[in-house]
């Protein structure tokens, strides 16, 4: 599976992780091109249907990343995301997706290096799985 290049949809919060992504860009830290960024105001607004939609569309992985605990610009949106993602991991299994395809991380605005590391890690994690079969199975 060495030539498998997964598509990973990444929901990044506007305040922390998107800033970290930008910082990684400014600092010229390379991270895999598999990450497809969708900027949201807060991870707390990531509706389960967005995640499921991405997986059904054929994404091989979904990453949700927001502010560190206690740092959410909107007080507690990241905690809401944490609860939701935990449930979602169980739900997507019912749809036939491995729970490892979904991941929640917290990356602070100044953690450009950590951002690049996590992007690499996530890509490796998804590469170890088979490509998502959703695109073949589902008719949308």
């Amino acid at each position: 599976m060495s030539d498998f290049e997964p598509t990973i949809v990444a929901f990044f919060c506007n305040w922390c992780t998107y800033t970290a992504a930008d910082l990684a860009g400014t600092s010229r830290l390379a991270y895999p091109p598999n990450i497809r960024i969708v900027r949201v105001m807060c991870t707390g607004m990531v509706d389960p249907k967005y995640v499921i939609k991405a997986l059904l569309d054929g994404a091989d992985g979904v990453l949700v990343s927001g502010c560190n605990p206690g740092d959410c610009h909107y007080i507690n949106g990241n905690y809401k995301a944490r609860r939701r993602i935990k449930l979602l991991k169980e739900i997507i299994e019912q749809f036939g997706f491995e729970p490892q395809r979904l991941r929640l991380t917290w990356i602070g605005a100044s953690d450009g290096i950590r951002f690049a590391e996590i992007m690499r890690e996530m890509t490796e994690q998804i590469k170890r799985l088979e490509p998502s079969a959703a695109r073949l199975k589902m008719v949308i």
Binding site: R36, V40, C42, A59
Partner: protein
Amino acid sequence: MKRRIGTAVVVGAGIAGIRAALDLAEYGYGVTLVDRAPHLGGILSQLDYQFPTDHCGMCRMLPLVQRDDASQHCLRRGLFHENIDIRLATEVTGIEGEPGKLRVTLKQQPLWVDPERCVGCGRCTPACPVEVSDAFNAGLTRRKAIYLPVPHSIPNAYVLDAAACTRCGACVQACPTDAIRMPEAERRKFHILVVDDELAVRDSLKEWLEAEGFSADMAGSGPEALDLLLAAPYHLMLLDIKMPGMDGVEVLDRAKQLSPELAVIMMTAYATVETAVGAMKIGAMDYLVKPFDVDSLIPKVVQVFQRIQAAEARQVETGAVLLCGGTAFYDPSSGKNPFGYGVERNVLTQIEFERLLSGTGPTAGRLTRLSDGRPVRRVAWIQCVGSRDVQTDADFCSNICCMVSVKEALLAKTRVEGDFEATIFYMDMRTFGKTFQRYRDVAEHQQGVRFIRSRPHSLVGDPASGGLALRWVDAAGACQAESFDMVVLAVGQRPAPVSAQLATQLGLPLNPWGFIEPEPFSMSRTRHPGIVIGGAFSGMKDIGEAVIQASAAAANISRVIHSAGGSLASEEPRLGGALPESLSREPPRILAVLCRCSRTADSRPPAEFFSRALRGDPAVAAVETIENLCTRDGREQLLTLVGKTNANRLLVGACLSYTYHRHLRELGPEAGLTASLVEAVDIAPWSDISGNDAAAGALVQLRSGVAKLKWVDPYPAPVIQVAPRALVVGGGIAGMTAALAIADHGYGVDLVEIGERLGGNLTWLRRTLEGHDVRALLEDTLTRVEKHPRILVHARSRVVQAHGEVGSFTTVIEGIENQVYHLKHGVAVLATGGTEAPAKEYAWGASPAVMTQSELERKLADGHLDAKGMEAVVMIQCVGSRQEPRNYCSRVCCAASLKQAFVLRELNPQLSVYVLYRDLMATGFMEAGFTRARQAGMIFIPYRLDRSPLVQPVDGGLTVTVEEPILQRMLRIDAQLVVLATGIVPVLPRELAEAYGAHLDADGFFQEADSKWRPVDSLKEGVFACGLALSPRSIPESIATAEAAAQRALRILGRERLATGKVVACVRHSLCSLCEQCIDACPYGARMLDADSERLLVNPAMCQGCGACAAVCPNNAAYLQGYPARQMLAMVDAAVGGAC
């Protein structure tokens, strides 16, 4: 935004400057925010992690109402606001005029890199051959002479360090946009006259200066120099003091008469330094002590050169000036340097350690020894290095270092895998803030941080192990030694270098240590009514305090501007952004513009590829390419293109999309597009990879942008009405101050006081430790409140009911004879105060000779205390305080004990005073009072909580038994008076706070929205707190919170209508089942069920657009305008690469 004609200048763009500038801008004043540095953020730009979350939350300072006037991204990256003109690398060189009509002279340092042309590609940096120490990383790393001052700041234009630059021109060659110019020609035109009687000195100076590209002439004597000055103009004179015949001072005096503009640097032998200092008083700029080397000379010369090359000085007319000039730090390598700073590589300052923890720091956040890269297992923090130390002329406490060390210790623990031991050596842990004591307790008891009360005396490096041997004397007098991998010094504050100069220029008094002294009972007002101080400029403070005082300073500034007529509107308010009516119904015509940037690789895919791919979508009207879009030329081309293509939506594909937000917003009105119709996507990450991957990756981002624009809701933001009145609950000093500050701006205030009369705790206080007259303050404030035409005092009244939201509250109060009034107001300030905690311990009540601090204060006031007949008094600190359930410091009791001890000593100079304490919280400049007390022979004995003193009544007197830790023996003190410092408890009824949607913290104080970034606000917008109801505070500190609360309230009262953000939650009532899940999900309390209409309503001013409600709604009834679900789903589609 309602623009007013008033303007303010805020000097210093650190955290305090930013807070004050935002407060003033939100009220509608035009603000010029100036900083000497080429970046925003001050010290905070170097600190990634802040206590108590140990992360960051700076963005919470951004405006909450009228959000779209300001940037909405990480504040560490940068800031913009419609009303703030940010001028970096700029200095204030003069302030003159009357309050309300000041003229401020600003000088911008020459920018050798044009920020309008620099695209931040960074090609100049590897080309540069010069390496110098990097101030951003506190000198732990090296940087080039051309560099990015802060890696995360935007716009990210490079800066040329003129002092380090060798003018080799390599960067000019490397720059693809011709943004860099070399100061070569300018330097040749800079004429320097060297005056020295020694030929050898003259020659070497001339040689050095010419090597640097300057033009230098020489004179061997005073008269010769004066002749040369007459013949030709010079910019700078380097002048020796000791010369035969006419000496340097005389030459200086005459030269200044000939050309007053001439800059002069004196050269002196060590013996005549005093003469040189004297020369500075008659016009010399600086001096150099001989013998000096080229490295100390050239920076000084370059500084003069830079100043003369600076852009034409600009004069700004303004109402008032806020000085937030920051602070300097003690240099631990100066003096005796017992801890080997600068000698041992693993001895760091707190700021250096902070950089070591940072992801953008020298080790990318890994904690390793700087000497050999080995992992760090044991770290020691040494407190009070250059603070609380009369030997370094620092008889003050620097306030923040105790908490910084605890925070760093906890952060360090998270960075090290495996064993790690953190040890803090301290004299008193000054955990005087609201949650500080509990934070310390967690560190000590749960995280295992060792706290050792001692002052280590020396440190020796061990070359074999690379460790540091630290020696100290423990409480029992035994010498201890341990080895550490790293030692962090908590270095004290020093006044900012500009303090003295500004003080002289403006006639402001300095305190004995060189900090500008504010007026009595104020933390921000100075003797000059138009000039206010803030931030660490008036003494070090933590973020929360700096933010409070910045808002307070803004209130004081605003008052000056208002009374000079600055509140008048200069512009009709634009609400929610004008939008052509038809636009929402027009089909989208998207113009996609791709930046072809000099910073990206040449392997990027051709424009035709994108054009073909995007044009497949009927919503895309045109795809164009522009060179270097982020430059001024690029933006102009963009504007032309928008006009030419008649597009109604704009997509920009470039690098660093943040950079564009501001420019695109400015572009909006000119091109007829509001911000929501413009989108920027980052295609930079794809530029470093080649071939098809890059093209596909960039295309996905562009398609996702197209999807977003296609489904945007171009509706104007909703607007709410504001009742222009305030309610203040509580008539103590905080309530009265807040009421006055609001009423002075022309808004009506209802001041509700439960008691008979106003005044609160001030009615029983007489003097402060500093000797200021509390009664005079009370009388003055009472008179102003009672005479104020806009303040309506409701005495003997209480709030019985309240409802409503920001802009329109209704409060029912019950007054004299059960009379009921309904008050309508736009904001509420809770200033219900606090009182002395009741005493339960130490035989209080069993003996009349045991009394609390307030009982003593009252007895002293009415002369009912026979101090002359006493031999000894014992004061016990922290009675019931700083231990569960009241585990917080009350902040005022240590000062009160010191004050009362001095008063008692005045009455009876023979009186023995014993103060039994745990940690003496003589914060800030109060430390001098502590020193004075010890010098006066008062005895301070620390006690441990598990060995509290014992007080027993014996035949009319009292016996106090306590363990003396140095003698290690029990002491018995026969005292005639025991004073208990029981601390403060708040008086804030839960029902009252909750009626306004505010909450109480664990100790019954007002729960602020955020202890650092929003310290006087409630999470629910429009409700504020100040004074003791907020947290224990001294009188000046309470006044500061009151002024801050008033300023926060004025942001809202200042507008008749509030426009909300473009991203705001809404309800589709036809789908809503009233399940109320969204009400629980909303962190701001912006949603409520309206019982009359049976509808769920959203207050759009309180809603911050987080979208939590939309995500929980089971029926899709709650949705986020500006982020509708169909738009999100289309973006997901585009991201996966499916149908667009």
